[in-house]
């Protein structure tokens, strides 16, 4: 036991006493400080980490990683990297000259985490790669959409771990046994019904971005339970919901009745209790969500941004028929952010060549909504991502229009925002 009443095994005790070197002692102290603040009585073994501290936010991040490497840090578990501020695969999309300190610092930081032994996947959607965690696994993640997806869709268990603590847990192989690691903390708080929304709408991916945005706004940090969703053919809609709800409200976990693993029934999701509030999603609320995510009036476009969180192989598959034989309007930029892994898979299917003919640029390791801006990211930009639409105006000073995948492609070809009458007049005000 420590002075604060947290049970430690021999290896933890040795780390705390400095027997495994200063870096491991420091990591143990960080984990215990977090455990004390959370009121944990013990630590839980974790089997996987998705590291967010590789995302450059200043020189302190570089100094932290260098300190660990210089003082004997060793990872206890597999640790995959979140995306970086820059791309190591495509260095010229954020030229050094645009912001030398950030670009060089970000690159150095990513190289330090590779040296520490992290698996350099550089993606905010690690759940789209093979070999990740499974149902019931205790893990450590910090990227908000990944926390939301792992807890909700996979049924792995993680709190939202901030930078440094994520690395400390990966070094020690343990996390404070508190919060979403515990059964009772995963109970649904509020119920969101979607029965009033036409089924046609629920089959379009845009619905899940808007539903997620609404669910996050209403839930804050509570756990929403969503009912009335059709069975899912792909994971992409659940990814959209995870990301949007985590962005607008800080939702770290949600349930969908009959879809997510801890919500076979409503009773299962609420663990036998009753919802604290019940909400009915309406077409008007969806239209309002779209307005929230749109800062620009419809009109001429400068760029389209897809892939926040990173585009999946099934999203590429869905995109390909839309661009078939078409060409985007000259002068426009069209970016798709994804992981190295998925880009490689798309390349082996011949899709990258077709996308290049269309005029799209597929970038790996990073995302387009961070500052400094990627080349030609300015002006009026259209996206199909609620997360991108939420952050980019503040981060990059751009104007944003939010729309479906089909609307984004059609608008890119026309050079101005096109609205799909099937979506916005059929059932929506």
């Amino acid at each position: 036991m420590t002075a604060i009443g947290i049970a430690l095994d021999d290896r933890d005790r040795a780390s705390l006493d400095g027997a495994h070197g200063p870096a491991m002692q420091f990591a143990m102290r960080l984990v215990l400080a977090a455990a004390e603040i959370l009121g944990a009585r013990s630590l839980v073994s974790v089997t996987f980490a998705h590291i967010d501290a590789c995302f450059y936010s200043g020189e302190a991040h570089v100094d932290f990683a260098q300190y660990l490497l210089a003082h004997g840090a060793r990872l206890a578990i597999p640790a995959w990297t979140n995306n970086g501020v820059v791309s190591l695969a495509d260095p010229d999309i954020r030229p050094e000259a645009s912001d030398p300190q950030t670009v060089m610092g970000a690159r150095k930081l990513m190289q330090l985490y590779e040296r520490l032994g992290c698996k350099p996947v550089w993606t905010c959607a690690p759940y789209q790669l093979p070999g990740g965690p499974s149902y019931g696994d205790h893990i450590v993640a910090g990227e908000s959409n990944a926390v939301s997806f792992y807890n909700s869709v996979i049924g792995a268990r993680t709190n939202k771990y901030g930078d440094y603590l994520d690395v400390a847990c990966a070094l020690i192989g343990k996390a404070p046994y508190a919060g979403l690691h515990l059964d009772e903390e995963r109970r649904g708080d509020i119920l969101i019904r979607t029965d009033a929304i036409p089924d046609d709408w629920k089959n379009d991916n845009i619905f899940y971005h808007l539903l997620g945005h609404y669910a996050g706004q209403f839930s804050g940090r509570r756990i929403p339970v969503i009912s009335g969703l059709p069975p899912q053919k792909t994971m992409d809609s659940l990814k959209a919901l995870s990301a949007a709800a985590a962005t607008s409200g800080g939702v770290a976990m949600w349930h969908a009745q009959g879809i997510t693993p801890e919500a076979k029934t409503l009773d299962h999701a609420f663990q036998g209790g009753a919802p604290g509030a019940i909400l009915e999603l309406t077409s008007a609320l969806l239209a309002k969500a779209r307005q929230d995510l749109t800062s620009a009036a419809d009109g001429p476009l400068d760029m389209v941004a897809l892939g926040t969180p990173h585009f999946s192989l099934t999203e590429f598959e869905r995109l390909m028929p839309f661009i078939d034989g078409r060409r985007l309007k000259p002068g426009l930029a069209f970016y798709i952010s994804t992981s190295r892994h998925v880009r490689h898979e798309a390349a082996t299917r011949g899709w990258l060549g077709d996308l290049e003919k269309f005029g799209a640029t597929v970038i790996a390791d990073t995302c387009t909504y961070y500052s400094p801006a990627v080349r030609r990211c300015r002006g009026h930009i259209m996206t199909n991502s609620a997360k991108w639409a939420y952050y980019a105006p503040g981060m990059l000073g751009v104007e944003v229009s939010f729309g479906s995948l089909a609307e984004c492609v059609e608008s890119a070809v026309r050079g101005e925002v096109w609205r799909d009458p099937r979506l916005w007049t059929n059932g929506l005000p």
């Binding site: 932290f64 901030g162 994520d166």
Partner: protein, 148 residues
């Protein structure tokens, strides 16, 4: 009436000593994205105190706004000397405490992070300046202190 200032015992999230003038935030602040460690100023356009410098203050806020990168914002502010002298919260926050711990190890500079109850928070928010001593004790100072 007892004229002596009442000492308040806080919960220590990260210990240390500090003194400074009180700055009470009316809305929660995220230490990443909403705060610029280079200037020490609040930069979030949605924050009612945008433009206010938090450097060297005893910063009172009920809670933080969550961002996983917030520990980096705190550590970077301590590295650059733009951090608050101390932080007093109601809702305990791991991110600021971890950021302060990391900066203490890397740079030998720290910032105590404490939490108190609603009543004590309301009392502290009335003060011009506060001193935080080891053991998490918070003492009102009779007058504002000059900036270091």
């Amino acid at each position: 009436m007892d004229e002596r200032p009442a000492v308040i015992a806080a919960r220590i999230l990260h210990g240390g000593v500090a003194r400074g003038n009180v700055l009470t935030l009316t809305e929660p602040l995220s230490f990443w994205g909403a705060f610029d460690p280079r200037s020490g100023e609040i930069i979030d356009i949605h924050h009612p105190q945008k433009g206010t410098c938090i450097s060297g203050t005893i910063l009172l806020m009920r809670e933080t706004r969550g961002s996983g990168t917030a520990p980096g914002g705190m550590a970077e502010a301590l590295r650059l000397g733009t951090a608050p002298a101390g932080v007093i919260l109601i809702e305990p926050d791991i991110n600021l405490a971890i950021g302060a711990m990391v900066a203490e190890t890397l740079y030998g500079r720290s910032c105590p992070v404490l939490s108190v109850g609603e009543d004590d928070y309301a009392k502290l928010a009335q003060e011009a300046a506060l001193e935080i001593t080891a053991g998490g004790l918070i003492t009102p100072l009779p007058r504002a202190v000059p900036r270091a």
